[in-house]
């Protein structure tokens, strides 16, 4: 039997201590998660076993040393309640018989063991409480931090959006799928000659007109039904004062997280000047500057288009007039549709 004596002739059974530590390690691994291997745990607990034995055989007050053992169990993440139960319970039975070489007949041992049990439990409880406070505070702080980050990112995003929205030269309008205008920027309001507040009272539907390009209204309906993600057209609006404004209009659909349509965002560019310039240039190219009458170019242009149409020969059916034909085909442009989920 391997036994060591100390100054008072008291002794610890090292083989017994080893056995006790091995069982202790097995118990804590069975009880909960231990970040150490069984062998590593056993080493740690063997040191504690010897420490406890030394205190038991000593005459000094057990409190500080045994409380430290309880605390170090928590520090090693051996925090399952069952761990302290096992540790306290075995101290009064198998610890004294297995770890002490000569427990029998030792006076005052029961009282000393009881004091050690109290100290072990107290040290464990104190350390566990501190650890719980620390971790609770840590996770709460992390949550506020994550929330602050998210809110900050939202605020930044909102500020970026506001800057783009307010500062854009193009008109931007946001409407619900029911057509209610939720917000428009100043550029949009200026373009149509309304105030921003006036436009917020208006339904998108009232901005559509009978002379819009064919299929425009249907396209918009399909967009808010979620069949398209974006629509781009050239569209004529009527300003509050009744004058017309030609626009390049791009409408995008914003969806809910589950894919349901939520908002439409319209970005509108005033292309009236460009449009009118095009018309003027075309007119000038096709008419005599002096008389304003159709010139040779228009004549041959129209002739060739008539020839193309007369297939088979003899069925001339062109209905266009000299001046009006081009305008009606180019003005409204061809509505284009992008993205369909």
């Amino acid at each position: 039997m391997a036994a060591v004596g100390d100054s008072g002739g008291k002794s610890v059974d090292l083989a017994g201590a080893r056995r006790y530590a091995a069982d202790w390690a097995q118990a804590v691994h069975r009880l909960g998660f231990v970040p150490l291997s069984v062998a590593e745990t056993e080493e740690l607990l063997y040191a504690h076993t010897l420490r406890l034995a030394a205190v038991l055989l000593d005459t000094e007050a057990p409190a500080p040393a045994v409380e430290a053992v309880g605390r170090s169990l928590v520090d090693a993440h051996l925090t399952e309640p069952g761990v302290v139960e096992w540790s306290v319970r075995t101290l009064s039975d198998r610890f004294r018989t297995e770890v002490l070489a000569d427990a029998a007949g030792r006076p005052g041992l029961d009282a000393r063991i009881a004091a050690m049990q109290g100290a072990l439990a107290a040290g464990f409880a104190r350390a566990l409480r501190e650890r719980t406070f620390r971790q609770q505070e840590g996770i709460a702080r992390a949550m506020w931090q994550a929330r602050d980050d998210a809110e900050q990112a939202l605020r930044d995003s909102e500020a970026r959006f506001r800057a783009v929205f307010d500062g854009a030269a193009m008109g931007i309008g946001i409407a619900g799928v029911d057509g209610t205008i939720i917000d428009v920027n100043q550029a949009f309001a200026d373009m149509l000659g309304y105030s921003v507040d006036e436009l917020r009272q208006i339904n998108v539907a009232s901005l559509f007109h009978a002379d819009d390009a064919a299929g425009l209204w249907e396209l918009y309906q399909e967009l808010i039904e979620g069949k398209h993600d974006a629509v781009r057209v050239e569209k004529r609006y009527y300003r509050k004062d009744g004058s017309a404004v030609w626009t390049d209009l791009a409408v995008s659909l914003i969806r809910h997280d589950d894919g349901r349509p939520r908002f439409t965002v319209a970005v509108v560019e005033d292309i009236t000047e460009r449009y009118e310039l095009q018309q003027r240039l075309r007119f000038q190219a096709l008419h005599d500057p002096l008389t304003g009458l159709p010139n040779r170019t228009l004549f041959f242009d129209t002739l060739s288009s008539l020839v193309e149409l007369t297939d088979p020969p003899g069925s001339v059916s062109a209905s266009s007039t000299w001046t009006g034909s081009r305008r009606s085909t180019t003005a409204s442009g061809t509505p284009s549709v992008t993205g369909c989920s």
């Binding site: 097995q26 691994h29 909960g32 998660f33 970040p35 150490l36 291997s37 069984v38 062998a39 993440h77 925090t79 399952e80 650890r131 719980t132 971790q135 609770q136 840590g138 996770i139 702080r141 992390a142 949550m143 931090q145 994550a146 929330r147 980050d149 998210a150 990112a153 939202l154 995003s157 997280d257």
Partner: protein
């Protein structure tokens, strides 16, 4: 749902988080009432789930040991959650103080907590990203300049791939991650399975999965496929507790208790 870049997901305090539930099962106090309620509910339905989670953590520790023994000193831990105890950087830096670890998680609270905990550890980094976006993980990991992708590294996917449904093509995700790793690198995966599990366990697990994040149980063959053409080290893709146990006493004679497989593979391809 995809969030626009740079916009973190909403922080919803009324919903439990998988990371905090996991922490609770590991004996941590980094959790809230709502998490503990769900944890207790899960534990009631699947009594061996807490033990499975602990076994998963122990598998990770033993796998780390294998990697460290082979000289791996840099780790990419994806789905790291809340660093409760026995974290990868603790295990790695205990063996090699110069070991570098980059943690990746999708949970903003877990990320914030990890950042605070690791603020003083210059050899660790934390990335907020989704496993379903491996390119982003890799580019952010490169931007941190902690890991050297030209040298062998350990990619750790402990209990996270089963959160990726088939529709998100986990095989492609794994292929992207493997392609980024130099020869000599290791891949560690633990993954829930339906194999060798009693029916009532599977029913309960499906039920429990519905309350938290959806889990896709996969077969051993499917999980083995995630290692691609890398060399799977002994003993192969096995029930976690059977993967290089510390001692025979840690394994059980009465068959697999935990519904998850674990495996480790090495990139044995030569350069070029």
């Amino acid at each position: 749902m995809q969030k626009p870049d740079g916009l973190p997901a909403e922080i919803d305090l009324s919903r439990p988080s998988a990371a905090r539930v996991y922490d609770y099962f590991l004996g941590g106090a980094h959790n809230f009432e709502i998490d503990r309620q769900l944890a207790e509910q899960i534990a009631a339905m699947t009594p061996n789930l807490p033990a499975t989670m602990r076994a998963g953590r122990e598998f990770l520790r033993r796998a780390m040991r294998t990697l460290l023994d082979d000289g791996i000193d840099q780790f990419l831990d994806i789905g790291s959650g809340i660093p409760t105890v026995g974290n990868v950087h603790e295990v790695a830096q205990a063996a090699n103080p110069k070991a570098r670890v980059v943690y990746v998680d999708i949970d903003p609270v877990a990320v914030a907590h990890s950042r605070e905990l690791l603020a003083d550890n210059a050899l660790t980094g934390v990335i907020h990203a989704d496993l379903r976006d491996p390119e982003r993980i890799l580019s952010e990991a490169r931007a941190l300049e902690l890991l050297d992708f030209d040298r062998p590294l350990g990619i750790l996917l402990a209990g996270v791939v089963h959160f990726v449904p088939d529709v998100d093509r986990p095989g492609d995700i794994l292929a992207t991650l493997r392609a980024a790793a130099a020869p000599g690198s290791y891949l560690v995966i633990s993954h829930s399975t339906f194999e060798d599990q009693p029916q009532e366990m599977l029913d309960a697990q499906r039920l429990s999965a519905r309350t938290a994040t959806e889990i896709t149980l996969r077969s051993r063959v499917e999980i083995t496929g995630f290692f691609g053409d890398w060399t799977i080290v002994e003993p192969g893709v096995v029930h976690m507790e059977l993967w290089r146990p510390d001692s025979p006493s840690e394994t059980t004679a009465d068959g697999p208790r935990f519904g998850a497989f674990g495996g480790v593979a090495r990139n044995d391809q030569t350069v070029g």
